[in-house]
Symmetry: C2
Subunit: 323 residues, 2 copies
Amino acid sequence: MSKIEEFRQIIEDQIRMLERPTRPEGLYDPVKYVLSLGAKRLRPALCLTSAALFGDFSAAVFPAIGLEVFHNFTLLHDDIMDQSLVRRNQPTVHEKWDSNTAILSGDVMLIKAYELMAKSPVGVLPQVLEVFSKTATEVCEGQQFDMDFEKTTDVTEDGYLDMIRLKTAVLLGASMKIGGILGGGSLRDCSLLYKFGQDIGMAFQLQDDWLDVYGDQESFGKRIGNDILTNKKTFLLITALNRLESEPKKELLDWLERKEYLAEDKIAAVTRLFNEAGISEITQKKRDDFFFRAIENLEKVGGNKEIRIELQTFAHELMARAR
Amino acid sequence: MSKIEEFRQIIEDQIRMLERPTRPEGLYDPVKYVLSLGAKRLRPALCLTSAALFGDFSAAVFPAIGLEVFHNFTLLHDDIMDQSLVRRNQPTVHEKWDSNTAILSGDVMLIKAYELMAKSPVGVLPQVLEVFSKTATEVCEGQQFDMDFEKTTDVTEDGYLDMIRLKTAVLLGASMKIGGILGGGSLRDCSLLYKFGQDIGMAFQLQDDWLDVYGDQESFGKRIGNDILTNKKTFLLITALNRLESEPKKELLDWLERKEYLAEDKIAAVTRLFNEAGISEITQKKRDDFFFRAIENLEKVGGNKEIRIELQTFAHELMARAR
């Protein structure tokens, strides 16, 4: 078993053992529910791995769980705002209970996340809290930009990249940086880990966008073309809107507005327009830029070499997913 | 000008100078809006006053603002859950914008509150965070109990008192305790300040419930009988439901269910039933128990005597409001 796998297990066990009040049930049942749905525990596992690079990871265990609780808080509130019905193949909290329950349970999870962060050794506590609060604020900003973008077709590629950086990538960077701080890494190493985590997050999100259109149906978990059918503002769609000439751009906008169509027709037409603008190659290039920059930064990180190689392997596996 | 008044002014100025990002506007405009609506700044003023009891209050300024930001975050989210249209004579955030905006802006305010708390001197930071997180959690629990209670007529007096303690009183206690910690007060003094703040909060809430029925229309800000008309679960209603005999209890329940009536008839009938059960006296007795216990505990607090007397005067003024 790899170190990362081992750390995932530790987190899973610790989350189950987390002392949690039971009353009022309306507040705490949803928290239990959302934390028990099978999750990858990616952020806390990366946090512990980063700590272990420099020595003892034990000081990072509670803050790592705090990162997972925070991540799940964002999913809970985002799902209300996006009116999502399903998360991890189960009904979302606002579906299973109601919106009020999802708001308040989410609030108490954000508080719990800070409570766990505050278990950091006092010598590094201000530093950990600073990274965490900055990141948490950015994640909210990213969600706001995402909602703003859904209301317009006028989004730049850089605007989109900045949105996914805020909404997704910074938390991966912060998870690794906080792990590094708690493990006793140098300022330079912690900063490199942050960059690695953030860039891997960017590459992963671009890969996710790309797979929706160009992935292999069998190995890809979700239905191919789903983002196209829901008009989701992905890097592909935004790049196409920015780069297509006026005629094909008009055709693309028509497809976005059309209410009645066969699913396969819309997927085929939009994919053809993407192909015309070379969107697949542009996206892959962008993804690879982030990925290789991430690997370059990782190679500069000090600490235990074996664990660093594990992180590298992990990054490659993450990108190879469903390709 | 009293010290408390002076501290209110300091908080008001500092809040205005608070560095606040502007983009995305959809996230930060509501935060600015809600923090600029005229508020009493009661919690931060009590926090600074508590700090000043023991010496220099300057370390408490940012955490005090954190308490005010936290309080406003709870109002923002509570107003969504309670579907309130107006707050401080202005439209609520979810009314002026929408629910999603109110959820996300509230989230970023809770993060900001922690960011301000984290500016406490590192020597007392873990202690401040522990009080704050415990209290923030309790406030969420109080809101959940409040929502639960609105769905049932089966609430005990102790259950109601515990709900208002969690929802309202603990934050006043915590504001004073955190101030005490940051001012350098002893453990014993900080604990006494907490009890004082909490009990004053309880007395104030009971007074608020009582005034709705027995207050003087001219001096009371709100309309007399408003809680009766909206079937609000106040201490008066809950005590009446628990203490009335079967016949008058049935009459009270009938009034709660009735859809068509003249406002003055319902107010008169329910007030008569309250009078039958001696609810006014019971409520005043309960209120005074909390109030006098608060004053007793305040008298045991060390530190600057003049400031302690100011706190005592303030407590009396708070209770004399609109009587």
